[in-house]
């Protein structure tokens, strides 16, 4: 019992499943061997954005087992998610929607069958473009998950000596986990086994089971390893339902892995946004007005209202403040969660506008932020359990080398390169959801800890092992952790940067209880204790710094240095934490410079739907990227004192890069991404 002397938490333990992954023995959803009679399914996606699928003709010479469409597919029970009512209706709601499924004995035959299918479609006029004067714009009653759409205090129309009034636009962004959404479905009588790539095995089991009229214990979802999700696997996606349906109809085990192209439409994306930010300040840089209005889109199928302006409610003090959201429904795919939904695009607009205000004030952008540091949460009026934003800015400035920065743009030139630096703040809410964990004493000081969590590659399995080891007072080698299975004790979704807190809370409870009671098995449900917690005033903060160089000949932007300083409570594992931080920052670089779903309005589609054409940062784009953190104590958030770190790296890092582009060149890019063709004309 020397838990405090040899704490595992805080140690850079390598991923416990790392050897399995690098040797290829770790199995992903489409890789399970499920028998010689396995069949393969290929999704037929709608080639039009709106209309009715009238008929499907199948060439009898095609080597397929089955072709499913709404004319012959089994009926599903009603569910909450219209995207999962696959092949139930003749209505086509967006280009790329699943309208048929071809099942064959080989992947190639299924794909060929899908390409050869003859669809009779009655096409209807469509509308694919988000704009601020769209006649169908409305104010959603809440934005995700349940925030008020609008908040207001004081009067944002008051005059201010110094103002900025700017509009920033961000394009559709696509999650693109390395492992595509994939399912292997096997029926055993009326029981269903799904090997499925997702962020929430128990949620997928419940959702898919309900659609097929199954009791919860009839569905078993196995999610041992996940090759990334970034939010797009937070709930069951159409692949899981289609695979189960195909297996049911054909009697074969069925594998369905979506091709990369389908990930751009069928599984969710980050909505495009148009954001207007108005800031007013006194001449000495005290904010008097913060007004942030965000426009975004959803599909005809369901309302998904991104919480774009919500982070702005918590960042800076100002007596007159307003945030609002406007939404329109288009004949386009349904947006979903993508890493820091709301915060990532919202903080582009706010933190670039703050930079513009600093320029208008002739004030250092760090000093402007420090001057407007609130003493309490400006939204709720309640205190923060911990907030070290200013410390992140100050310490980050020291580490990055911000001192003596010439605030004027276009001052530093080396050869053909214009060089500049930028800063932006970061924030992300600290959350926890109820979960249940079980611990068993296996004897001889070995323990099995079980919880239906999912490890998306983040290190969740490793961190939970460390948490359990400390709570049990044993070395990590004595703990066997079981996750990734819906039949294990119920866990919350791997989302909202809340996995470690939620699951760790339950694991801690179970392990402590086992030690305290001396029992050989304990199940701990955190529902009650998590439910009692105050939700307000819990946020992680950080500051991002970027140095960029812009080629005067070509307008090409390169990020020479990207640095993040974070205050995120206790860091449970510095190795996996660093991965999370710099992974988020890398994705932020993609958002600032590369990533864009290119819309063809006439097609009603993002036409660059593969990773050759939809650019994310390549290795050569990453030069120096570093993350550091403060030792932040916060015992109010959860037993580990940890805050979620999976998303904060993408919040503010795009703004830091864009602000650095301005500082390098004097060119202010307000329409992301900052491609060379937008910069070159002004160099």
């Amino acid at each position: 019992m020397t838990a405090t002397a040899h704490r595992a938490v805080g140690q850079p333990l390598p991923r416990v499943e790392g050897p399995d992954k690098v040797t290829g023995t770790a199995k992903y959803a489409a890789e399970y061997q499920v028998g010689d009679d396995v069949a393969y399914a290929w999704v037929v996606q709608s080639p039009v954005p709106r209309g009715r699928l009238v008929d499907v003709q199948v060439d009898p010479l095609l080597d397929v087992i089955a072709v499913l469409w709404h004319g012959n597919a089994p009926r599903l029970a009603d569910g909450d998610d219209p995207e999962l009512a696959v092949l139930q209706s003749d209505q086509i709601s967006y280009r790329g929607q699943a309208v048929a499924l071809v099942v064959a004995r080989t992947l190639e035959a299924a794909r060929r069958g899908a390409q050869e299918l003859s669809l009779t479609i009655e096409k209807e006029p469509h509308d694919a473009v988000l704009r601020t004067d769209h006649p169908d714009l409305y104010t959603p009653s809440v934005v995700n998950p349940s925030f008020p759409s609008e908040t207001s205090a004081g009067d944002v129309s008051v005059a201010a000596p110094v103002t900025v009034d700017v509009t920033y636009t961000t394009p559709a962004l696509h999650n693109n986990p390395m492992e595509p959404h994939a399912t292997t479905a096997v029926w055993s009588g009326d029981d269903l086994i799904l090997y499925d790539s997702n962020q929430h095995p128990a949620g997928v089991a419940a959702t898919v089971g309900a659609l097929f009229g199954l009791e919860p214990e009839q569905v078993h979802v196995v999610t041992e390893h996940v090759g990334g999700g970034f939010g797009s696997k937070g709930t069951a996606r159409p692949n899981a339902v289609l695979a189960a349906m195909a297996a049911r109809v054909t009697g074969h085990p069925v594998k369905l892995a979506l091709p990369r192209q389908a990930l751009f439409s069928m599984v969710g994306h980050r909505t495009p946004t148009i954001q207007r930010v108005r800031l007013g300040a006194t001449a000495d840089g005290v904010l008097t007005v913060i007004d942030h209005e965000a426009y975004s889109q959803s599909s005809r199928l369901l309302e998904f209202a991104e919480q774009t302006a919500v982070a702005t409610r918590h960042m800076y003090a100002a007596p007159n403040r307003r945030t609002g959201h406007r939404l329109t429904r288009l004949d386009m795919p349904t947006p979903r969660w993508m890493r820091a939904p709301g915060e990532a695009p919202g903080m582009v607009a706010l933190e670039c506008a703050m930079d513009e205000l600093a320029v208008a004030l002739d004030m250092d952008p760090i000093e402007l932020r420090v001057r407007n540091e609130p003493t309490v949460d400006p939204d709720s009026g309640k205190p923060f359990t911990s907030r070290h934003y200013v410390e992140c800015l100050r310490r980050g400035a020291d580490r990055f080398g911000w001192v003596n920065r010439n605030p004027r743009p276009r001052q530093r030139r080396e050869g053909d390169w214009w060089i500049g630096t930028g800063v932006a703040g970061a924030t992300y809410p600290t959350m926890a959801q109820p979960s249940t964990a079980r611990v068993r004493d296996l004897g001889e000081d070995h323990f099995e800890v079980a919880i239906a969590a999912a490890d998306l590659g983040t290190g969740a399995r490793t961190i939970l092992t460390q948490i359990a080891a400390d709570a049990l007072g044993v070395p990590v080698t004595r703990v066997r952790l079981r996750i990734g299975d819906s039949t294990l004790p119920k866990a919350s979704v791997a989302g909202g940067s809340s996995g470690s807190a939620s699951w760790g809370w339950a694991v801690t409870g179970a392990c402590r209880s086992l030690r305290e009671t001396g029992q050989s098995e304990v199940v701990f449900d955190s529902t009650e204790i998590v439910g009692r917690q105050e939700k307000e005033g819990k946020h992680a903060f950080g500051a991002h710094f970027a140095e960029v160089r812009v080629d005067a000949v070509t307008g090409e932007v390169r990020v020479s240095r990207l640095f993040g300083m974070y205050a995120c409570g206790r860091i449970l594992n510095p190795r996996t934490a660093r991965s999370q931080f710099i992974g988020g920052m890398t994705m932020g670089m993609g958002m600032a410079l590369f990533e864009e779903g290119v819309l063809d309005p006439a097609m009603g589609e993002w036409v660059n739907h593969d990773l050759a054409e939809y650019h994310i940062p390549a290795h050569a784009d990453i030069e120096s990227i570093e993350a550091e953190w403060l030792d932040e104590e916060d015992s109010a958030v959860n037993p580990m004192g940890s805050k979620g770190i999976g998303e904060i790296g993408i919040v503010g890092s795009p703004a830091a890069i864009l602000n650095a582009v301005w500082h390098a060149t004097g060119v202010r890019i307000r329409d992301l991404p900052a491609r060379l063709d937008k910069i070159l004309p002004f160099l």
Partner: protein, 315 residues
């Protein structure tokens, strides 16, 4: 994916039955087959014909076998020493893994990455003649400003070919020798055919004549690696007494073929090797450009590139 048969070619004489196509590295063709853009009945593998030698030609210059892998060609000591523009162009293309597979002949014959061409569910005069070109109104930021037609504004994606055009390379086929500049055809009213090659005509090698003067390739792209060019320039230049005595210029990613800038070359010969001359030459070539809504930036970009590359070679 359409069912096909596969066999290995036994000689380099060319000749194919209808529906057959040659397969080399497969880095482009196999992708197109998966997507349903290419639907051959028969693949004839030409990678075992021994066409993988780089040799010095009598009298100078190099002969590059059509099967030489891009990575091997880029690293070849004679290429690095005598044709830096070619080595640089190869290394600017694709990724290490792709360059290990891709061959010289296959690289020349790769298809456009126009996003409409790559998607058989969309209209495209190149993959489905007569269906129209949605790129003109739609996404064309990275499509042609030179040499296009109302039927097609696709760009040729190769970096290597741009360097070869500037080098006056000659393509040897199973039937004839073709200057690489003449290998490609402009789309006109038939965008479906990229080259003048007949069905079954096999590229066996590429000849590079002796290069005098310094050469370089510069590629602009949307990220630092693993991206097709937004624009590129291959240049070789000789200067005597401050004047340009010989110059070869080719542009990539601005036209349906690697674009030999003959007008610019003509304008430069005999002129002072100055930025002003370089810009004037670029302007002369680009006067014929016909940009659309979103690709006009390529004109000043190429202009800047020409001046920058030539300044780098002559300073």
């Amino acid at each position: 994916m359409k069912t096909f048969t596969y066999r290995t070619a036994t000689d380099a004489e060319g000749g194919l039955e209808p529906g057959a196509t040659f397969l080399a590295g497969g880095t482009n063709l196999v992708d197109l087959m998966k997507l349903g853009v290419a639907t051959p009945d028969v693949l004839v593998d030409v990678t075992r014909l021994g066409l993988d030698e780089v040799s010095e030609r009598p009298g100078g210059g190099l002969r590059i076998g059509a099967g030489v892998r891009n990575s091997d060609l880029a690293a070849h000591p004679l290429v690095r020493r005598d044709f830096p523009v070619l080595s640089q162009a190869l290394l600017a293309g694709a990724s290490g893994q792709l360059r290990n597979m891709a061959t010289t002949g296959g690289n020349l014959l790769q298809r456009t990455r126009c996003r409409y061409f790559m998607d058989p569910t969309k209209p495209c005069n190149k993959h489905a003649p007569g269906t129209g070109c949605p790129a003109r109104e739609g996404d064309h930021r990275n499509l042609a400003v030179l040499g296009g037609s109302e039927h097609c504004i696709a760009t040729h994606p190769s970096d290597m070919a741009v360097a070869m055009v500037a080098l006056d390379a000659v393509v040897n086929t199973s039937q004839r020798a073709i200057p690489v500049s003449d290998l490609y055809r402009l789309p006109g009213d038939d965008p479906s055919r990229d080259t003048v090659l007949e069905h079954g005509e096999l590229i066996t090698s590429v000849d590079l004549p002796v290069l005098k003067g310094k050469s370089a390739y510069r590629k602009v792209r949307d990220r630092a690696s693993y991206a097709f060019a937004v624009s590129s320039v291959a240049a070789a230049v000789t200067v005597a007494d401050g004047r340009v005595t010989d110059v070869r210029l080719a542009f990539g990613a601005v036209a349906p073929k690697p674009w030999r800038a003959l007008i610019a070359e003509e304008a430069l010969r005999g002129q002072p090797a100055t930025r002003e001359s370089f810009l004037a030459a670029a302007d002369a070539e680009l006067a014929a450009a016909e940009p659309l809504r979103d690709n006009a930036f390529k004109i000043p970009l190429v202009r800047n590139l020409v001046a920058s590359v030539l300044e780098g070679l002559t300073s």
